[in-house]
């Protein structure tokens, strides 16, 4: 049916940049190209889960002419045979199995076919929801088209037609079932396809009034269409679509397949305006290369339906290159083709006018039948460099084609014409207010000569030159800039103004002394002239200027600090000299040791003195317990002193205090016992 392949694909159109241009209306669409094919291979590279996904992948490859892998085909055919043979397959599975079969043309045995046909016929009779009708009728249509069974007809075609029609709504959309009030555009597309299927399967004529009302429904549906500025037209899905078919690409695909299949089986036309069909084509081409498999299939399948449909076949006007060079003597090439890139019928392209440029007259493009492009080769004689918007019109050789094809009435295309701009009559001079020009030098931008000038702050610098296009007209570039750079890398930028034919700039140094930060010395003069359409844009050093400025006064602004060389930021930094406090002078070690010895002397003196006094240990208690306590007392004191030594050597205060706590308690106890014993013995002696 309408989903059959387009014939034979034309030579591949080279991919060009789609310009997003300055005027929203002026934009171009490119037909399907090689990049689509390679993207398709990538997007559909994984193995396919369901028959639906398999069908989408196979159909896409088929339309684009991509080779599919042989094992994919065998695996799919196996799945198809299994599904068709099984009696428990759902309607949806049977439908997609038959679709896959249509692409792969597998061997299906007649028993399965009989079984399928009876299942489908029963389903049609008992269907209540839209999708049941869609799948069952679609399946029967596929069986008929694939010639799997002869003489296949629907029993009560008109009744089925009415039942499907009963689900329609007044605004052109359809409901999925009578119980659910929500409607969707996707459902409308499915319904139209189902109705087309009914018409093709009916043995007798369907009532024309029914067909007429369906055509009205289609017109109503098209009133709901959304538009983009560039002429693309699409159907926006409904948020509430419970079957998940809300996206614009899916909804629009559904409608396109619906109307093309319906138009294929009905006589008379649908009265749809050609620009709407063209808008649908533009929408799908404007998607570019879709991200996921479903969108890809929807895009490619819709374009295949539009490629040769009975409503109107859209033709796309595209340009392989929108930037043409006058120097290279490029000719402007324009191509008209179908959405998939096939040839258009014989036609002429006329350049009607260029927007805002009255100089370009209306002319017809010559057709180059070898390359199948239309050529405008009079550009260099009549058109100067610049950017234009050309307006093209398509005129068919055979007036009958106007009804069968949909073309844009006036296509606006942005064009860039580049060329080499001549710089002439360039002079640079230093002017003195009294004497006039002191020295005038001619500048030659082609050569390597640099001029050398000298000036002081009372004089002026004047530069002038002319820019001419290849056709001899004065040219105004985007940039004409003069830059003066001092030796210390401080630079100043000035824009060169133009007066009609000439570019001229006068730098009065008296007024600029402040701006130049009073820096005298050698300045480098650099001139930049550039534009998008100027092929020989340049920026070059044209010479040096020795500038003599007066001394800077106290309050003069300092020149800004120039950024350091970028690489020096990552180089080694300057060494920092740390100044440590000079260490104290220490005495020689022998002196310190001598005094250490001296310190011990008083201790020795003390011990000797004690001995001279006759110190004895007679009062040391002799009984066991007091003796033990007394001994422990001395041990305790000794251990505390030892702890202090360790504290000095390595312990910290907290540890010391902790240990001191234990030792102190012990010492207190022991000391108390000993001293009280001593006290009691001495009081006994006293009393006795």
């Amino acid at each position: 049916m309408a989903r059959s392949l387009s014939g034979f694909l034309a030579p591949i159109v080279a991919v060009a940049l789609i310009c997003c241009s300055f005027a929203a209306a002026a934009s171009i669409f490119q037909p399907i190209s090689e990049s689509h094919r390679s993207a398709a291979i990538e997007t559909f590279a994984r193995s396919y889960g369901s028959l639906e996904e398999t069908y989408e992948a196979l159909q896409t490859f088929d339309v684009l002419g991509v080779e599919r892998k042989p094992d994919v085909g065998t695996a799919a055919c196996q799945s198809v045979s299994q599904t068709l043979a099984s009696s428990s397959s759902t309607l949806k599975d049977i439908f997609y199995a038959l679709k896959v079969n249509g692409v792969l043309k597998c061997e299906v045995d007649t028993d399965s076919v009989e079984g399928i046909v009876s299942t489908l016929q029963t389903a049609v009779g008992s269907a209540s929801s839209l999708l049941e009708f869609y799948h069952s009728i679609g399946g029967l249509v596929l069986v008929k088209n694939q010639a799997l069974k002869d003489d296949l007809y629907l029993a009560d075609a008109e009744g089925v037609f009415r039942s499907i029609k009963a689900l329609s709504q007044s605004d052109g959309r359809w409901r999925y079932s009578s119980s659910n009030p929500e409607s969707s555009t996707y459902a409308a597309g499915s319904a139209l396809e189902a109705l087309a299927g009914v018409i093709s399967l009916s043995s007798s004529e369907i009532d024309q009034s029914l067909i007429g009302t369906t055509k009205n429904d289609i017109l109503k549906l098209f009133e709901r269409v959304e538009k983009y500025d560039d002429g693309a037209v699409y159907f926006d899905g409904e948020e509430s679509d419970a079957h998940g078919n809300q996206g614009p690409i899916t909804s629009t695909w559904s409608v396109v397949t619906g109307i093309t299949s319906f138009a294929a089986v009905t006589s008379g036309n649908l009265n749809l305006p050609g620009e709407k069909i063209l808008g649908l084509a533009k929408f799908f081409l404007g998607v570019g290369i879709p991200g996921d498999a479903k969108d890809f299939f929807n895009q490619v399948d819709s374009l295949a339906c539009l490629e040769n449909n009975r409503v109107a076949i859209p033709l796309i006007l595209s340009l392989p290159a929108t930037v043409n060079s006058l120097t290279r003597k490029d000719t402007l090439k324009v191509k008209v083709s179908t959405v998939l890139g096939s040839d258009a019928p014989p036609l002429k392209i006329k350049l009607v006018r260029a927007k805002d440029t009255p100089a370009i007259e209306s002319q017809e493009l010559k057709f180059d039948s070898a390359n199948k492009v239309h050529v405008l080769d009079t550009l260099e004689k009549s058109v100067d460099v610049g950017n234009y918007i050309f307006v093209f019109e398509i005129v068919f050789n055979d007036p009958e084609h106007k009804k069968a094809y949909a073309v844009e009435s006036k296509t606006e295309v942005p064009i860039f014409l580049t060329g080499a701009v001549k710089v002439g009559n360039a002079k640079i001079a230093v002017l003195d207010s009294d004497l006039g020009s002191i020295e005038t030098q001619n500048l030659d931008f082609a050569g390597e000569n640099l001029v050398s000038l000298g000036a002081n702050h009372l004089q002026k610098l004047k530069l002038r030159f002319q820019l001419t296009t290849p056709l001899g007209h004065p040219f105004k570039p985007h940039q004409a800039i003069l830059k003066l750079t001092h030796e210390s890398k401080v630079d100043h930028v000035f824009v060169v103004g133009n007066t009609g034919k000439q570019f001229e700039i006068v730098l009065d140094f008296l007024g600029l002394v402040d701006k130049f930060y009073y820096l005298s010395g050698k300045y480098e003069i650099q001139l930049t002239v550039g534009d998008a359409v100027m092929e020989n844009s340049f920026f070059r050093v044209i010479g040096h200027l020795d500038l003599d400025l007066p001394e800077a006064p106290e309050k003069a602004p300092r020149p800004p600090v120039q950024p350091a060389d970028a690489y020096s930021r990552y180089g080694p930094k300057a060494e920092i000299a740390h100044i440590f406090r000079a260490p104290e002078k220490r005495p020689p070690q022998e002196l310190s040791l001598a005094f250490l010895g001296l310190t011990v002397l008083p201790l020795l003196g003390f011990i000797i003195g004690l001995l001279r006094l006759g110190v004895n240990l007679k009062n040391f208690p002799s009984a066991a317990a007091p003796a033990a306590f007394a001994a422990l007392f001395h041990v305790g004191i000794g251990s505390v002193l030892l702890l202090y030594v360790f504290f000095w050597l390595k312990l910290d205060l907290f540890t010391t205090l902790k240990i001191l706590g234990f030792l102190g308690v012990f010492l207190l106890f022991v000391g108390h016992r000993t001293l009280s014993h001593l006290a009691s013995t001495s009081s006994k002696v006293k009393s006795a």
Binding site: K585, R586, P587, F595
Partner: protein, 117 residues
């Protein structure tokens, strides 16, 4: 000539009487006196050292000197309390005074050790 010789004789006599009086003091007091002398002498030696080499680790110098002076002071307190001729401290047992002396010394030396560095 005569006057100077008489002063010399008088000072000599003074020293003699001091010596004999001192000989009468009890032994335990003499021990404490000896201890005080030892402590002060040690302090003096440290000061002389500091005068020679400079006071660079000043905390150490202070620590050392104050340890000696501190223990000397505590010993003097002990002597006062232990001396039987002192009427104010008649009720304090000499063992108790000794225990105080030991305790205070230990605390003093803890602080000194901390400050020594």
């Amino acid at each position: 000539m005569g006057r100077s010789s008489s002063t010399v004789k008088e000072t000599q006599a003074l020293f003699q009487s001091l010596r004999s009086a001192y000989a009468a003091t009890p032994n335990n007091l003499k021990i404490i006196d000896l201890y005080v002398g030892f402590a002060v002498l040690t302090a003096v030696i440290q000061v002389v050292y500091m005068a020679v080499v400079g006071s660079f680790p000043f905390n150490s110098f202070l620590s050392g000197v104050l340890s000696c002076i501190g223990t000397a002071v505590l010993a003097v307190c002990l002597r006062i309390q232990v001396n039987k001729d002192n009427k104010e401290f008649k009720d304090v047992a000499p063992e108790r005074a000794f225990a105080d002396f030991i305790l205070c010394n230990l605390v003093l030396h803890l602080v000194i050790m901390n400050f020594l560095g």
